[in-house]
Amino acid sequence: MGLREVLTPFTVWKHVFDEPVTIKNPIGRPAADRYRGFHQNDMASCIGCGTCEAICQNAAIDMVPVDGIETRTGDSGLRPQIDYGRCCWCALCVDVCMTGSLTMSNEYTWVDTDPDAFRFVPGLEEPWKDDEEGYEREGKRVLSGIERIHMEEMPPETRISNFEEIVDGYSRAEAILEADRCVECGLCVATCPAHMSIPDYIAAVRDQDYDRGLEILYETNPFSEVCGRVCTHKCETSCAALHEGDPIAIRWLKRHIVDEVPFDRRLELIGKPAAPTGRKVAIIGAGPAGLTAAFDLARAGHGVVVFEALSHAGGMMRYGIPEYRLPYEALDRDIGVIEAMGVEIRTNCRVGRDVTMDALRRDYDSVILAIGLNMGRSTRVPGTEGPGVEKAVDLLRRITDGEEVPVPERLVVIGGGNVAMDIARSMARLQMQKYGRVGVTLTALEDIDHFLADREEIVESREEGVQIFDARGPQEVVRDESGAVTGLRTWRVKSIFDADGRFAPAYDEGDEQIHEGTMVIEAIGQMADTSLLEEALTEALEWNRGRIRIDGAFRTSEPWLFAAGDAVKGPDVINAVADGHRVARTVMDELAAREVMQ
């Protein structure tokens, strides 16, 4: 031990004159900008999807109803409540948040004598509600996929010359990747008219358990192969994933399941119908609503006969939707399953002509009217009477039936809905086959943002060479001296809806245009052909603004007659399917009730 070793330690006494490092007032010292303090939630952008609850490994989050937040499409109306007797401030909930509404402040002081006080719903009244500082995740969410897996499609130049299906469908690998993005919040289920168990069948895709997937599909939708292709997929508008990225391709995943299960296996999985009950139900119209009802009723053991005026079953699914969107074989397979349940479909049998309503009423326990909207509306502007002006639904029907339809070199379509796109694209294909080029002009009252058609329909139409003139109000079908159509005269629509979104058109007469074409196709709307009801029944029934009045369970005012589908509600396949289920359930209840009465 040297003296040096004894003395050296004393040299640090020099620090006695240093400025002390003590923080003067440490209580409430601001934490770093990124500090993970107490939670904040932007109530307006939160959608209550519960993904935060799902990821919390401490079960610290409850989803609770909050005053002033309503349950609506795409928002469950629930908000996260956090238990600070559980939280570990890992901020996984922030990272996984689908909308980015959940963040953290850098506030960290919370002292209380009551252990039950440490629960709160962020975004309501906490003092740090509006603090700017605090943890937010860097960029968009990374814990679940943002971008949709690309769907392979036939390129425009290939598809325009034929009616082959455009969309390829996902491969297994692609489907798994896409299904993987789903967070299973279930917000979509309420939006789907048929309330399909969307998260469950997406989980089945992820697990590669297609049998289970198919069974789930058939619980709520016997037209899954059709819907997997042409559904208006409103579910995707309430998908939690769309707030930061693309919504899950729910429709394509549904299709993928059906694609992966061979038809025979499908029949096996669906199984046999229940023992016959001896009851008979007549259904008028073999469209999605009628056939869905038929499927449900037949499965329950009731005898079902479907009356179809046209030569094939399927209704608008067959005669309205062109083959390139929905191949007939796909539709046939869905209908095949329904027929396998023992449903008898009498095609070419028009009620009112080949069989009367009275006869149906007499011979069957119940009758379901599912006639759809099969008559096209006309604008009835001057010049619409006479040759050269067609209605879209009529033309589509004729194309499906294989009839020869007139194909002019240039034509004009009026309308901005899916039917307008369907006819425009169908005619474009026919023109391509006949002339080698496309000459279709599409005009619509609505501006492009208000088109009722699906976005991809518009995009694909344009890709295929359809010229779209939006916000054009038709004034007259122009004809030459011989009466032959030469074009359509339109005015520009300055605005079409008022501030409340109600129809209030304003035209600019000064902006007039003539769209050339030797044919005008009107595709503005459809209506039901209720002539089959005949006068007495029409008088006997209650009506509601032009449609047969039904109650919540699809009963008409006549106890034996039920109505469903587009004719009473609207306006797409999945709604019709949903209606079909509901009306079938009512009919079954009624039949059971009658059983009890007797």
Partner: protein, 230 residues
Amino acid sequence: MKDVDDKFLKNIETEFPLREELRPRRVTTPDGQEIEIEPLKDYFCEAAPKVHPKAYIPIVEDFYNWARANSLWILGFGTGCGAIEMRPLMTPRFDAYRYGIQWRPTPRQANLLMISGYLSVKTLKRAIRAYEQMQGPKYVVGLGSCTINGGMYWDSYNTIKRLDQYLPVDLYIAGCMPRPEALLAGFMELKKLIKAGKGEGANKYAENFATYKANQKSVIKDWDMPDYNW
């Protein structure tokens, strides 16, 4: 409810007998005397804790409370992870000593027990002992989520979930773990409580002694200490 494989179920009486040194027995003292001893009774007082009455004159009680509030002596017992944020408080940067707060190495000198987060059953046993050995009036502060509702160990088989079932908690500080600044804020709040005469944890413990004991014994299966060790 879970299935239990009986093979592994242990009988508390036979599997966890009282440790040899705690059993009543005859011993020979160093000076040759033979005596009977019963350690659990001989070494500890059996009397249960009593409620500490308030001073008769309010102003005196107020004075007591003021004094108590300004000498929070913490037992240096890091029962869980939160203890690591107490070290900065003992050092110059945060310097809790200036607020009359200091750490003591033995329960006899301390009046504040900080339960710094989760408590395993094994530590709970020691914490109870430490608490009971402390002189009244004494206080308990729970740090972090774990003391409130189990925290991130909510599904653990070895940690208690609610501290207030086993010890009378005067105050909770939220966080996982709470920062030194939050701890200081907690101490200031505790001082206010004591000054207002609301730091009544020890009396609560005395009043509800039977309930606390029953709760403690329901999780500490091998109870091998006297019911109250002070």
